[in-house]
Amino acid sequence: MNKYLSILRLGWLDAMEFRTEFFVSIAGWSIRLFIAVFLWLAVASARGGTIGSYSFNSILVYFFIVQTISSFIFSRVGFEMAYDIYRGDFANYMLKPLNYIAFRLIYEMSKNALRTTISAAIFGVILFAAFGGISLPLWKIPLGLLAMLGAYGVNSCLIIIIALSAFWITNATRLTFIYFGILTTFSGMLFPIDLFPPKYAAIFEWLPFPYIFYFPAKIIQASALTPELLRGFIFQWGYTLVLGLIVTLIYYRGIKRFEAIGR
């Protein structure tokens, strides 16, 4: 356990050491939010202030929440793992008394925790100044955190599955970018899933992607814990479990194929 706490600390120190890079990344995320604000303001203006079931204010709050979630779940783990396998650096980790996937995830998560804290503080101040804050009763805090952890689980598992394909193919990095394209469309990152025509929205709810952005944002925006939201938790954590098992299976199969000649 101590070794993983040390990794947690190392990730945190790394994030603190390269502060400029850290703030550049926050600036990058903020630009996306900035575009979303203006884009949806234009849509709302054309529609007399509403978009589907959303007012302009509620869609704005939705994007602020999505942005905070993305600070937490954004992951470079896929690139790093694919690179380790491709370059043979993975061999170094096989000799160490730790679980390679846990090492990568914990290191990343501690960096993201700092990013999320700062994002939440910045966006919280903006939301408070613009709308007097958002309603956040006590019951939402543990459920919101649980939904964000589930989102991190689903997203990380999908990314790791792609990264581990590097055991079989030369370069898995670009597959990760294809995944980002799918994620952007069907996760609620670009627009809430319920803005799709209803027949499509009903199909997408069965996929794992809406449980990465749309579902946690809905939990935080919800006025009450409805049966639909509870069903969402079952889907989210069910996907995390199944995908986690697939990751484990692929990982151990991949190790058997791994060769690091000359190292």
């Binding site: 390269f18 400029t20 890079e21 550049v24 990344s25 600036a27 990058g28 995320w29 630009i31 996306r32 575009i35 203006f38 884009l39 303001l41 234009a42 849509v43 203006s45 054309a46 529609r47 978009i51 589907g52 470079r76 670009r174 597959l175 970018f177 294809i178 394209g181 799918i182 952007t184 469309t185 670009l190 627009f191 803005l195 799709f196 025509p197």
Partner: protein, 260 residues
């Protein structure tokens, strides 16, 4: 003339590389197809709820997006990856090898890796143009479309100059692994009609940091959107940014201390 010869040689070497890694072309096709599809779906969803966006109809918004991707395709082929790798190369001291070569340093630094496999993106973009034309309320003239493409080339020069300015900052901050993500996010400002950015923000993104014009202006020229002398101003801004990028690069280089 010498610069052109070196540039053509770099093109030749990179074309040979593409012939070795042919699968890259098809991966680029899938990658670009996925991203274009994502944003076309966004436009479809928006126009499912409304009939106009900042005064633009669906076909025109798709045309803005088509020109945006055309500019992106050319930058992906010729220089974008070099900008993304610049921070890493700087840290590893690889700039030293370029400095000692008898060729323009910016050319060797930002055009070394020419990714012809990204030409696959042009296929997807041509499909997007076709879809945009189908959704336009009236056909556009060939002459105006050609003029739109000429302005898209001006956009490429402007985009290169802006990336050059942003990446030169790396001389001061050293580590910049998130630079590619920053480029990706900054670039998205050009994806939609410039009219969505209102008041002072619209003015900044049109005249001071003219990212809103990269895709919008070529589309405005193609559909003959009334924008006064903006095309002339756009050319002036591009020339200004080009020289600013050059001067800033020369200054940044004086801060480079080498990693070797």
């Amino acid at each position: 003339m010498k610069t052109l010869k070196i540039f053509l040689k770099l093109c030749e070497l990179n074309l040979k590389k593409l012939l070795i890694y042919r699968a890259s072309f098809f991966i680029s096709l899938a990658l670009m197809g996925m991203w274009v599809m994502a944003y076309v779906i966004l436009i479809e969803v928006i126009f499912y709820h409304t009939s106009t966006l900042a005064g633009w109809n669906k076909g025109s918004v798709l045309l803005v997006m088509s020109f945006y991707y055309f500019v992106q395709n050319l930058s992906d082929i010729f220089f974008k990856e070099n900008f993304e790798q610049f921070g890493d190369n700087l840290r590893r001291g690889e700039l030293d090898f370029n400095i000692v070569k008898p060729a323009p340093l910016r050319l060797l630094t930002f055009f070394r890796e020419i990714r012809f496999d990204h030409a696959a993106g042009l296929l997807i973009t041509s499909g997007l143009f076709t879809y945009a034309f189908k959704n336009l309320p009236a056909p556009i003239s060939v002459n105006h479309l050609l003029l739109g493409f000429i302005f898209a080339l001006v956009s490429v020069v402007l985009y290169f100059s802006m990336l050059s300015i942003i990446s030169t900052i790396t001389f001061w901050i050293q580590k910049n692994d998130t630079f590619s993500a920053l480029i990706f996010n900054v670039t998205q400002l050009s994806r939609y009609p410039r009219q969505i950015y209102r008041q002072i923000v619209g003015k900044i993104l049109t005249f001071a940091l003219p990212l809103a014009l990269l895709g919008s202006l070529p589309a405005e020229v193609a559909v003959q959107f009334e924008n006064g002398s903006l095309p002339i101003i756009f050319i002036g801004i591009t020339i200004g940014f080009y020289f600013l990028g050059r001067i800033f690069w020369e200054y940044g280089l004086t801060k480079y201390t080498s990693a070797n």
